[in-house]
Amino acid sequence: MHELSIALSIIDLAEEEMRLYGGERVRSIRIEVGSLAGVASDALLFSFGLACEGTPAEGSRLIVHETAGRQLDVVAVEIEP
């Protein structure tokens, strides 16, 4: 169960983008999870909800696209002023 640390890394990446563009909040994060990435989407979604608390991503939506391969990438971040 390493999905919590994965969730924290996703939030860190999203916050980095948010600051780069001068936003205040993260509304959604779109990620791609390969079937061979070793990450369970359900566990990740559960962990994400917990990991967001108290961060600018609190209440945001994690949109998971399951793909083939080994990638585990953040592909887009929706930010708000």
Partner: protein, 228 residues
């Protein structure tokens, strides 16, 4: 400064921090001429027994070897492995189910890598989480014991896909466990076509020569594709 909501295209690896440290480790290993071999498997597949035997053989044949062992708790494995005469350091992860590159980097900080020829990293016993984390190794071996059943590769394709060589351990028990070698080999090839397979018994020594050659990179190894 944005004034309206906007969607930013990113495309970044979630584990980029780990990958960056793994990359730095790989550079350091190359600079110090250290070959790094990691072992992953489920708990009880024989990682420590194989490593104990491997360290003893290599230490006796005057190879400079060292090992890092990951476990959630206890120093037991490190104490067992130190009997080989090689330097061994335990990494206790607490509740973390895998090793990551920063733990390896921290554990190595006090070692002079110029004094090491082959470094082994025994991961936490787990067939899921370690597959996501590059540790900077040259060779990742996934262990499957003859007593575990032939279908492990089909159940855990990601770990077999992240590894370079599959090692079937406890072959001395294959007959008793009615282990089907051909089915296991076929299942490995299904999830990772072309994967090298080494069958051995650390207990009676069968297959250890081939394993040692593999560790030392003496025969054609499958290229490392972990970055893919």
């Amino acid at each position: 400064m944005i004034t309206v909501p906007r969607i930013v295209e990113v495309r970044k690896r979630v584990l980029k921090e780990n990958d960056l440290i793994a990359h730095q480790l790989r550079d350091k290993f190359r600079e110090c001429n250290v070959r790094v071999v990691s072992l992953v498997s489920s708990p009880g597949s024989g990682k420590t027994t194989l490593l104990e035997r491997t360290l003893t053989i290599l230490h006796r044949t005057h190879h400079r070897v060292a090992a890092l062992v990951g476990d959630l708790a206890t120093e037991n494995d490190a104490e067992r492995l130190r009997r080989s005469g090689a330097p061994v350091r335990q990494i206790t992860t607490g509740t973390v189910c895998h090793l990551d590159a920063s733990m390896v980097s921290r554990a190595l900080s006090e070692w002079d890598l110029h004094q090491v020829e082959v470094l082994f990293i025994e991961n936490v016993g787990n067939l899921v989480c370690p597959s996501s984390y590059d540790l900077g190794e040259d060779l990742r071996a996934v262990l499957l014991s003859a007593t575990e059943g032939e279908d492990k590769p089909l159940k855990y394709p990601s770990i077999f896909n992240s590894a370079d060589v599959a090692v079937i351990t406890k072959m001395d028990l294959a007959a008793v466990a009615e282990f089907d070698r051909r089915a296991a080999a076929a299942n490995i090839q299904t999830v990772r076509p072309g994967m090298r397979v080494v069958e051995l018994s650390a207990k009676n020594g069968d297959g250890m020569d081939e394993w040692i050659s593999c560790v030392l990179g003496r025969s054609a190894a499958v290229p490392h594709t972990n970055a893919g």
